[in-house]
């Protein structure tokens, strides 16, 4: 039991950092470069924490609250997620509603902080982010609905833990649809290609990056940290859905989940290396496809029962 707790704690700390490093490495290999060290992200964060902060006179407390609330809500979401068969730190009936609301709250404050600067870029980024979020959230919720129904469970720990193995046998078709839908949600929510280009310096094309253009130093570090947590959270969600932990020993299943998250990072790296970004007008269309896919999963399940 203690071993599982320790492993769970380790995975939550190391997972986000390793995922970022993994994506960078994968892209570097595809580009024919050696790439930065695996833990470069940590050095970047430490560097940012040592830096000063420049604040525009037009901003208010909202501008500073954005990064803080973004990080807190992402951490809360992580606390609500089980790792492998090891239950979440915080678990209760209907906790997935809190999970989705926490992420939604984080988005709201990130956008509010962006609007607070009054810059046209940030406003544009905020508008795009909200458009994307309005379509990603239904897909997420519809997925939870199907999962709750298929596993007959009310909390994330019960849904994504061991009971998923049986659910795949019962309603594999619905879960496949949800899995595909969540893949798109994962890429969209984390500002990855084909939805957004996290490495671009072109303000006019940015979505997520445009909203954080005015943040500096420690506040930028908080944003980066929150982004890595969100990436880890969404990957765990996907891993919990598709990996049948079944009867694995709990400590082993925690490690399997971590490995799964790294595999997701590898896949993201590959996707970003072989695909170009979508034209911005096409992005909502792909998100609608994600919602429809999730709805299709729900319909299949209802038909099943």
């Amino acid at each position: 039991m203690l071993l599982s707790v320790l492993l769970h704690g380790f995975a939550c700390l190391a997972g986000p950092v390793l995922m970022v490093g993994m994506i960078q490495r994968t892209k570097a290999v595809f580009a024919g470069r050696r790439g930065p060290p695996l833990l470069q992200f940590v050095s970047d964060l430490l560097k940012l924490f040592r830096r000063g902060v420049v604040l525009s006179r037009t901003t208010s407390w909202v501008f500073l609250a954005g990064p803080v609330i973004g990080l807190v809500t992402a951490a809360l979401a992580l606390l609500l997620l089980p790792l492998g068969r090891h239950a979440a730190w915080l678990s209760f009936e209907g906790d997935f509603v809190l999970f989705a609301c926490a992420l939604g709250l984080g988005r709201f404050f990130t956008v509010a902080a962006a609007l607070d600067t009054g810059s046209p870029f940030e406003g544009m980024g905020g508008a795009r982010e909200v458009t994307l979020g309005a379509l990603a959230e239904p897909a997420l919720f519809m997925g939870f609905m199907v999962l709750a129904r298929a596993t007959d469970a009310g909390s994330l720990s019960d849904m994504l833990g061991g009971s998923m193995t049986a659910a795949w046998r019962e309603s594999g078709a619905s879960l496949t649809a949800i899995g595909l839908s969540w893949c798109l949600v994962l890429l969209a929510e984390n500002a990855r290609i084909p939805f957004d280009d996290p490495t671009t310096h072109l303000e006019l094309t940015m979505i997520h990056e445009a909203m954080i253009l005015d943040h500096t130093g420690p506040f930028l570090a908080l944003i980066f940290l929150a982004s890595s947590l969100r990436l880890f959270v969404f990957s765990l969600l996907l891993v919990g859905l598709v990996v049948p932990f079944g009867t694995l020993e709990t400590p082993v299943s925690v490690l399997v989940a971590l490995a799964g998250a790294l595999a997701v990072a590898l896949s993201i790296g590959i996707v970003e290396s072989v695909l170009a970004r979508l034209r911005l007008v096409q992005v909502p269309k792909l998100m609608v496809a994600s919602v429809l896919m999730a709805a299709f999963g729900a319909v299949l399940l209802v038909g099943n029962a």
Binding site: K27, F30, A31, G32, R33, P120, F121, M124, A127, I193, P194, D197, T199, T200, H201, L202, E203, L204, T205, L213, E272, S273, V274, L275, A276, R277, L278, R279, L280, V281, Q282
Partner: protein, 496 residues
């Protein structure tokens, strides 16, 4: 009706042979140029006669005949009738003349500064075009940008993501080069020319040297000309390959972006192998080139070129076979053939809109030796078209450089070591070169002491910036960086 003086590219004529037209006759010649298959290569004010009063001078390029036509007219009472409304391609030229000479082109629809934003006796306005209405908003970008690029200010009139109008304001890099060249050639002139636009060092240097050769009536040697052509095409290769990579980067397509970045470096290093400088500074000099390409060096260049050609083919072909890239390139930033013609676009941007304009095809003489020249055009006028024209030109240039390296003529690399400090007196000369961005036009007039009376430089960017503004009409604002890169215009070449 053509009472204009006809000369060829890279030749000089006595100033007194240029006909002085009446204002109406002059305007007819300029406005009627597009209909008669001519286009405006340069329009500027030339100090004329003993009074040095500014006269309007025009150089029209007649591509089909391979000749240039020149004429001047007097500017009476500091004003002349604007020709922009009936001939949009002179729009920026007229603004430039108004700014430099304090004359008024009467009836100009959008008279505002080109480069100097605080002119002493300001009769013009620096206001931007603005739209009004619910939910219409304005986005201002620059002159300080997020990347390390040149300064320029972009003003978008938007409705959500939709761009109705883009206006570009430049001039932040204005150094007053044209003014500094008057009274030359001096010792530093060639160096000033090489830094007109750093990425077009070879192109501008060749244009200048052709001009000097015309003014001293001493042509470049055969070997010198061939080495110039090789350097010019290497410059084109480096920039086209770099642009294709940057276009891939703008749509987030990693493989081509990263490999082309490296390949551009390899190609610049080939120029460095020829001249010791990655941009080719110090290579092109009047009557030839300053540095020879010995057989061993030529062999090394061939080997490097062979390796680069293979990698370029691999990296760039990925673009055309990736649907995700093609869906970003196609039907974005379209400039129709009619728009391109009326704006007087040049270079790959013009050819991508279906205009067969290339100095190498029409005004190059024997610059390219025996190699057949492919004039590449594409009708679509979108980002894809501009990228694909670059790619076809890249392929041709690779073959051309290899063929020329194998067939280098023997003989001296330049006819004379030093340029005389005085040129032929009272002459007028025009020199055109197809740089990688398009037509580079240098025009010079000498005074009776054989010094530059006026020196006019037209960088291809000067013609094409308006094309970018038109390409953005009714586009998504998020596609601007892609459209911008597909033109890849020079700021300092425009600002001079």
């Amino acid at each position: 009706m053509t009472s204009l003086l006809t000369i060829r590219n890279g030749t000089a004529a006595p100033l007194r042979t240029i006909p002085i037209l009446g204002a109406v006759e002059f305007a007819e010649a300029v406005v009627g140029a597009p209909a008669r298959g001519r286009r405006v290569a340069s329009l500027f004010a030339l100090p004329w006669g003993t009074s040095r009063a500014p006269h309007l001078a025009v150089v029209l390029a007649h591509d089909d005949a391979g000749v240039l036509e020149c004429g001047v007219t007097e500017i009476v009472g500091h004003r002349f009738a604007s020709m922009t409304e009936s001939c949009p391609e002179v729009h920026l030229f007229e603004r430039e003349i108004a700014e430099n000479w304090s004359v008024v082109p009467e009836g100009h629809p959008w008279l505002k500064p080109v480069r100097r934003w605080q002119t002493p006796n300001d009769t013009t306005t620096a206001e931007f075009f603005q739209m009004a209405g619910d939910e219409i908003h304005e986005v201002a970008v620059g002159p300080v940008h997020a990347g390390v690029i040149e300064p320029g200010h972009f003003r978008f009139q938007c409705h959500g993501e939709h761009v109705f109008h883009l206006e570009i304001a430049l001039g932040y890099q204005h150094r007053g080069i044209e003014g500094a060249l008057v009274g030359g050639p001096k010792k530093r002139t060639i160096h000033q020319i090489e830094t007109l636009a750093g990425d077009t060092t070879i192109g501008h240097a060749i244009a200048y040297c052709q001009l000097i050769e015309a003014l001293i009536e001493e042509p470049a040697t055969a070997r010198g000309r061939t080495l110039r052509a090789i350097a010019l095409e290497l410059e084109r290769l480096a920039n086209h390959v770099g642009d294709l990579g940057a276009l891939a980067g703008d749509v987030g397509f990693l493989p081509t972006a990263s490999f082309c970045g490296r390949l551009r470096g390899d190609l610049l290093n080939m120029t460095a192998l020829l001249s010791g400088n990655r941009f080719g500074r110090g290579l092109v000099r009047p009557t030839g080139v300053a540095l020879d390409c010995e057989p061993a060096r030529g062999q090394m260049l061939l080997e490097r070129l062979h390796a680069a050609a293979r990698d370029i083919e691999d990296a760039v072909s990925l673009l055309w076979t990736s649907p995700s890239v093609m869906s970003r390139f196609e039907e974005v930033g379209r400039v129709t053939t009619a728009t391109a013609r009326s704006l007087g676009l040049v270079g790959p941007a013009a050819r991508a809109s279906g205009l067969a304009r290339d100095v190498r095809a029409h005004h190059a003489g024997d610059f390219f030796g025996a190699s057949p020249f492919d004039l590449v055009t594409n009708e679509a006028g979108d980002v894809f078209s501009r990228a694909y024209v670059r790619w076809l030109e890249t392929r041709w240039a690779l073959d051309f450089v290899r063929a020329r390296l194998l067939g280098l003529p023997d003989g001296p690399i330049r006819a004379r070591e030093n340029v005389p400090s005085t040129l032929g007196a009272s002459l007028f000369a025009v020199s055109l070169v197809e740089g990688w961005r398009g037509e580079i036009c240098h025009v010079a007039a000498t005074d009776d002491g054989g010094r530059f009376l006026a020196y006019k430089v037209v960088d291809p960017s000067f013609h094409n910036w308006m094309g970018l503004q038109m390409a953005l009409r009714d586009q998504q604002i998020s596609d601007f960086p892609l459209c911008n890169k597909s033109f890849n215009l020079s700021y300092c070449g425009h600002d001079l």
